[in-house]
């Protein structure tokens, strides 16, 4: 057993073995389940990725219109209410949001399932029903972050000369807000959304645990408690690489978002 796990080698040599295997896609096998860790990640990542992506998209869908409107009507009644709600969402732990949603929608009204996972191929409708609460739980706190960020950037952008010029030319508010102000105000939002996606992929542990979703987060949770070192190591390495890749993609997206950067490069 010691030989098989290379425990008879020193730690640097062992790390070298692991690294050389890892770059070829071999993350070893779990001694708990005797499964190849790469296979497990391949099977579970789509679930985590789906929840992560949908929650970020949902958070953006909630945050952008509200953020734009709040910035437009800065200090107004809606802005003050939104500000209060976002503070509440930010200061409430994710697991509490999840449990409150479960009590309301699953236990009390019985509209949605408490836990579980159904493959899309088995039943698209049930698949979506099982997604709602986990995605909503993750999205609510993230939406509050996005909203505050966008609102602050928009307020700043709306005071720029070119925006004022646009207003002075009589452009309608919708055009000014969406065409002139939103795009240059969204750099921070894009950066944070991407970082959030990376973080959500690695941080769905609580949500996957609460909703019994067979994703990467619950795998890490189980593996930590089982002291399944190879599994934790492989999953964490995968998440770290994904996080770096997402950030690299964001860097590239800047060029697309801001023509000034393209000009700068050329």
């Amino acid at each position: 057993m010691r030989h098989e796990l290379r425990l008879d080698k020193n730690v640097v040599v062992r790390y070298g073995y692991w690294l050389s295997d890892a770059v070829t896609g071999d993350l070893g096998y779990s001694y708990r389940t005797r499964q190849e860790i790469t296979d497990v990640i391949r099977a579970r990542v789509p679930i985590t990725l789906e929840i992560g992506l949908l929650s970020v998209i949902l958070a953006l869908l909630m945050a952008i219109p509200v953020g734009v409107y709040s910035a437009h009507r800065q200090g107004g009644r809606v802005d003050r209410i939104v500000s209060g709600l976002s503070s509440a969402a930010l200061s409430t732990p994710g697991f509490l949001i999840a449990l409150l949603l479960v009590y309301a929608f699953a236990v009390h009204w019985k509209l949605l399932p408490v836990t579980g996972w159904v493959r899309f191929s088995d039943s698209p409708f049930q698949h979506i029903r099982h997604l709602v609460l986990p995605v909503l739980s993750l999205a609510m706190a993230e939406a509050a972050v996005f909203l505050r960020l966008l609102r602050a950037d928009m307020i700043s952008t709306l005071q720029q000369d070119y925006v004022l010029a646009s207003v002075a030319k009589g452009m309608p508010p919708r055009h000014v807000l969406l065409r002139n102000a939103l795009r240059p105000s969204s750099f921070s939002l894009v950066t944070v959304s991407a970082v959030t996606l990376g973080r959500v992929i690695g941080g769905t542990v609580i949500v996957e645990y609460l909703f019994s979703l067979p994703g990467l987060g619950s795998y890490i949770y189980e593996s930590i408690f089982a002291k399944d070192v190879m599994a934790v190591q492989g999953a964490v390495a995968f998440i770290a690489v994904t996080y770096v890749l997402i950030n690299a993609l964001v860097e590239m997206a800047y060029n697309w978002l801001d023509p000034r950067l393209r000009v700068g490069h050329s």
Partner: protein
């Protein structure tokens, strides 16, 4: 009301796969709080070890007035996932983990009746021996695995040889390696042990009861763990690990019309509150609640908990192979520190009873002259001081291992608080996943641990626990207790139930002196079920037998 509910003296091994006596008396036993429960649980007739031929439905299941209805889908919730279906991978012990799933797919050759303590055949027809050394396992004729492979003596031999092969790293290799087997004919396997052992039948039920298709094992290799082929009541339809295992009825099951259910969905919900939420929302019909905290929360929410009174105990066990518990003074000191009632009140929220002896009232193994020590901090401090003085240390580190169940964190805090007054003691508690807990105990990789024993008979685990020559547990026996060894060997050499009971009582006196463990409380497991579920029956370790369960229309 089904009187299946009347006999729930099942048992559960939550963590350590150890066994305590069959529980017994009418007034003590079972399920006073269970809806519709009666007061009747017969005192166990001890397994004689030599035969095991009664009908499988003899005593754990009482016949219902109506014939069970066939059909329907049952969803049952578990707190954790299990390792897999390969019999060499599954531990075959913890009721909440492996045993129930494995039995649903393979059936058990034999199992221990939780009420009578007798070994009862399921997939086998009988197990007999005249001298407790040479045993004859008789199989049923005409049984096949779901892939068509005959369920015969060669298949059993193949499976047991696999356990014995070191390459497979079976958790049950210790027993398998002892066996010399010979397939006499299609349905007869001759088993020869190195020495007479009247507890062999019970050992078999715990270690080697699951037989997989040799054809599939060879064809599928490592994939078999996820895609098993058995001859039991159900087949695997799909399995998403850590989420849901879906089993479908095996129409070729030998014991038709069983199983009654068309489908069993076994869902894993790690979070305790979410398990109860899921049950309350009507998403499941059955919930295996061995955590007293779950039981307490369920009661708070008005959900009935079927209390399965057992002879089991929660206890702390000391590993006498390592310091400081290789020193009897430290073991004795620890038994004098724990406040059992406080643990029951704070950790288990009143579930269970503080122990006063090694076995509860009503157990035939209870000896009224064996009385556990009470809390005595000054005396415990004196023993610890003596230990420190002799070893030249100023303090001693002690790490307690617990499972990662919901109540373990509270237990850690309560124990830390109880041990705080002892000067020179650095107490630490750490948690291990339930699936890893038993292997950790068996491997002896701990100083002290909090675990649970349940079962129907002192054989084999209880006897093995402190038997220094046991190949089952690698702890407790490093400093052999010669008296215990002698008593165990004496009772195993012959088939004599009275001798077994007598020796089990004598062993308790040695334990009282040597303090290899500190009992906390007597323990029951709970089942939470919907009204539609009928025929709930148990194995000796508390696992539900899904072949017996049916649903009302």
């Amino acid at each position: 009301m089904s009187n299946i509910r009347l006999r729930r003296v099942g048992a559960l091994v939550l963590a350590a796969a150890l066994t305590v006596a069959a529980c017994g008396s009418d007034d003590d036993s079972s399920s006073q709080s269970a809806p519709g429960a009666s007061n009747s649980v017969p005192t166990s007739a001890a397994p004689d070890g030599s035969t095991a031929a009664s009908a499988p439905s003899a005593s754990t299941e009482t016949s219902t007035a109506e014939t069970p209805k066939s059909g329907g889908s049952l969803t049952v919730l578990y707190p954790s996932e299990f390792k897999g279906f390969d019999p060499v991978v599954g531990t075959g012990s913890a009721a909440g983990a492996d045993m129930q799933r494995l039995n649903a797919v393979y059936g058990s050759l034999l199992y221990t009746d939780p009420v009578s303590g007798e070994v009862v055949p399921q997939m086998a027809e009988s197990l007999k021996s005249d001298d407790a050394k040479v045993w004859t396992l008789k199989l049923r004729t005409g049984v096949t695995f779901t892939d068509g492979t005959p369920f015969n003596a060669e298949a059993v031999k193949f499976n047991w040889d696999r356990h014995a092969d070191p390459a497979n790293k079976s958790a049950h290799a210790a027993l398998a390696k002892l066996l010399t087997t010979e397939a006499v004919d299609e349905t007869t396997l001759k088993i020869t042990l190195p020495a007479a052992d009247s507890s062999f039948a019970q050992k078999l039920t715990r270690s080697l009861p699951f037989i997989a298709s040799p054809t599939a094992l060879q064809a599928l290799g490592a994939k078999f763990n996820e895609s098993p082929v058995g001859a039991g009541p159900f087949k695997v339809k799909s399995w998403v690990r850590d989420s849901e295992l879906v089993l479908e009825r095996n129409a070729q099951y030998w014991d038709s019309p069983r199983p009654y259910l068309d489908e069993v969905r076994m869902k894993v919900i790690v979070d305790e509150d979410q398990r109860l939420n899921s049950f309350a929302a009507g998403e499941a019909q059955l919930l295996n609640s061995f955590a007293p905290t779950t039981q307490a929360k369920a009661k708070d929410r008005g959900i009935d908990v079927i209390e399965v009174k057992t002879a089991g105990t929660r206890f702390m066990v000391f590993n006498t192979r390592v310091a400081p518990f290789d020193d009897i003074r430290m073991r004795r000191a620890f038994t004098m520190v724990i406040d059992r009632q406080q643990i029951i009140d704070l950790v288990y929220q009143g579930a269970g009873t503080a122990a006063d002896s090694y076995f509860p009232e009503g157990s035939r193994f209870r000896d009224p002259t064996v009385v556990l020590p009470t809390v005595d901090i000054p005396a415990a401090q004196k023993l610890v001081d003596e230990y420190l003085a002799d070893t030249g240390k100023s303090s001693v580190d002690v790490e307690f291992k617990l499972t990662n169940s919901g109540d373990s964190m509270v237990m850690s805090e309560v124990l830390a608080q109880q041990f705080a007054p002892i000067k020179g003691l650095n107490f630490k508690a750490s948690n291990t996943a339930t699936a890893q807990f038993v292997p950790m105990l068996n491997g002896g990789d701990f100083q002290a641990a909090v675990a649970t024993w349940l079962g129907a008979d002192v054989e084999p685990e209880y006897m093995d626990t402190f038997y220094s020559k046991s190949n089952r547990f690698k702890w407790g026996g490093s400093k052999p207790y010669p008296e215990i060894d002698k008593l165990v060997e004496e009772s195993r050499a012959v088939v004599d139930d009275e001798l077994k009971v007598r020796n089990a009582k004598l062993i308790q006196h040695v334990m009282l002196d040597q303090a290899p463990m500190a009992v906390i409380g007597y323990y029951f497991m709970g089942w939470i079920k919907a009204d539609s579920v009928e025929g709930l029956a148990y194995f000796a370790d508390g696992g539900a037998r899904f072949d017996a369960i049916s649903l009302k229309s």
